[in-house]
Subunit: 181 residues, 2 copies
């Protein structure tokens, strides 16, 4: 249901087409909550069928922009305030880290370095985003303030993982042999 409410939430900021929404998912939520366009278009049709959104305008190239309805807003608010937050994370690298002891030390060192770089890069990307936001580049309305909070979360998450990858490189486990027999 998260994709559904993600779309509804983005539409609460203003009308948008499936293409717009796919781009915004990619930009802000690429790492946090990825969504492919086929799923987005399908969900939009379902939302429209249920009356939670409606067609706002039709443009060139079959572009169809939607707008959230009163019912849609109510449903979204119910989700936000009335349902439990799902705390599952699925961080594949952390799963892999359980098995670092099976990797050749050199290979492990190389991988951890690359990972640290990756998370540093992502953190910087979100920090830049936050700076632009703080300069007022995206306006100062409520939804922009919300976005700022989200971006802060992304920065902190990536920083934490970057720091961890560096720590892990220093605390790398000794290589070992599996108990095959």
């Amino acid at each position: 249901m998260s994709l559904r409410y993600g779309l509804l939430g983005l539409l609460a900021e203003g009308p948008a087409s499936g293409y717009d929404l796919a781009r915004r998912f990619q930009e802000v939520l690429g790492q946090i909550w990825p969504a492919q366009h086929p799923k987005i278009y399908a969900e939009l049709r379902r939302l429209a069928d249920e009356g939670l959104i409606e067609v706002e305008s039709e443009g060139p190239r079959r572009r169809t922009a939607y707008r959230i309805t009163g019912e849609g807003t109510a449903d979204l608010r119910r989700w936000l305030t009335g349902t439990e937050v799902d705390h599952t994370m699925r961080i594949q690298l952390l799963l892999r880290s359980l098995f670092f002891w099976l990797m050749p030390p050199q290979e492990l060192a190389r991988q951890l370095e690359r990972e640290a770089e990756y998370f540093q890069r992502m953190a910087q990307l979100y920090r830049d985003y936050a700076a632009r936001k703080d300069r007022g580049e995206f306006g100062t309305g409520p939804s922009t303030q919300s976005m700022r909070v989200t971006v802060e979360g992304a920065v902190r998450l990536n920083e934490a993982l970057a720091g961890w990858a560096e720590w892990a490189a220093e605390h790398a486990p000794e290589p070992g042999e599996p108990r095959t027999k």
Copy 2:
């Protein structure tokens, strides 16, 4: 494929039954990489069919313990060193945070407080785990050292999210109205 390699990796530490594996997934990986028992038993059968694991022993109550084979070890190592790490996260709370501006301020404050508590609690849980590990309660072998690294990651992640939730409460967005029309 992650569940598959998660199981293979846990079996590399020593023989275990589906029930054991389900418990260990729950204990260490509950938050990081959840796995339900139906999926685990199904995957174990597939792994056995492919010769990556084999039956080690059969006990009371149909208990069937598996052991990893040489092929299984090779396959696991190929995964660890030869495939790209998947960086997607799917943190639902961060998705929700984009829409905090649609929540009544009081409700939002309450939710953020609960979330901060939750992440603090989880961080503490993993810190305790780390402390027991450092005291040598689980041995000192390579796989235990690996586990220590994983636990450190879990601690840092939860601390980061707890800190963020507190920060978010102080930087909560003004409530706003969606553009229904």
